[in-house]
Symmetry: C5
Subunit: 95 residues, 5 copies
């Protein structure tokens, strides 16, 4: 999974029927230096994540497992809200 921070949200009136009523959050991936300056993605949220939360995001066809519907085409979803993340200082290497 990607480790991302929730940074925003979107409104979309024209979308596939399988996305109707689906909460969509903008998240930004963790970068190699452990700040959240990586790629920006749009993902579905059913766990109640909010702005600033650190979340685990699954991408790709695995997401289809919990998005039923003939046009189900969501490829990113929040699968966990991270309470705490700890790094081993020994293995940290500044680039």
């Amino acid at each position: 999974m990607k480790i991302c921070r929730v940074i925003g949200k979107v409104d979309s009136s024209v979308k596939l029927s399988s996305l109707q009523g689906q909460k969509l959050l903008v998240v930004q991936d963790i970068g190699p230096n452990r700040d959240f300056t990586g790629r920006i993605l749009l993902c579905a949220d059913r766990l109640g994540a909010g702005s600033g939360d650190i979340v685990a995001v699954t991408t790709g066809s695995s997401v289809r497992m919990f998005f039923p519907g003939e046009d189900a085409a969501c490829d990113a979803a929040i699968v966990g809200i991270i309470d705490h993340m700890s790094f081993d200082t020994k293995s940290h290497k500044k680039s």
Copy 2:
């Protein structure tokens, strides 16, 4: 999903039969700094998106769900047109 801007279109006379009659738009992914300077993709559009629109783009095998046909090999499609996108200013970090 990727958050992209529609930046162009293509004409293609030689293509797989499953792509015949399919509107194809050129889109550019949002970058880490929230401008649209990321990767450029070609994706199918059935929602009526136009040049300059901000769109949600699904990629990968999930797209195959709504492209029937034996040679269906489209791997990117617009799944929503974004009306409004808001960012949490607090969590914005310039790289």
Copy 3:
């Protein structure tokens, strides 16, 4: 799909049986600045593309749809030859 330019070809005598007789072209992905300086890929071609052509390339498991065989493991294929590509000048942003 990726938008790529055909830049070369390969010879391979030792390969999976599902790739035997398959024309393989080297392509280079379009970069964020609209030149073709992105990633280099090897992909199957059944549309008759040639050196210098701009092509639409599908990647991932969607490609398996038209590569039958028990060891079918091709993950990139040309699905269209692009005759013309036009960009909206307004939305072009130099990075």
Copy 4:
């Protein structure tokens, strides 16, 4: 597979049921220069990997094979712990 180093771990109380009780480790991908400064991922571990270990990580839908459950959406897992890695000095090219 990706070659990664285990650099940390996460606690997550709110997550999909298929991830309950699943050990999740933070890993960092090897970079082009053979240090571990690449992308950071969160992945499941059932092999007993620990901090500092070099591991082989599989990503994408292949991971779903060993994560049963209706909402199984894990897209990264450790599939091997690497005891020793050797490089051919001849082919090493500093960028």
Copy 5:
């Protein structure tokens, strides 16, 4: 497929059963400038590739086609050994 050079190998005693006895090689992807300074991957080899060989590597779920077993989770495999690769000089553009 990716075009990679074989640069090393790994020993792994603890791994999924579907990877037992499987030869695993470290490869490095071709970069945009046609040197082999791209991403480093670990992939299965059943074609007898050796150090320094240029190989075609398939990634993702397509690889699962030839890795039977309940925990089959290999996501990268060598599918061809490249004897010769030629580039069209005209289309080469230094970045």
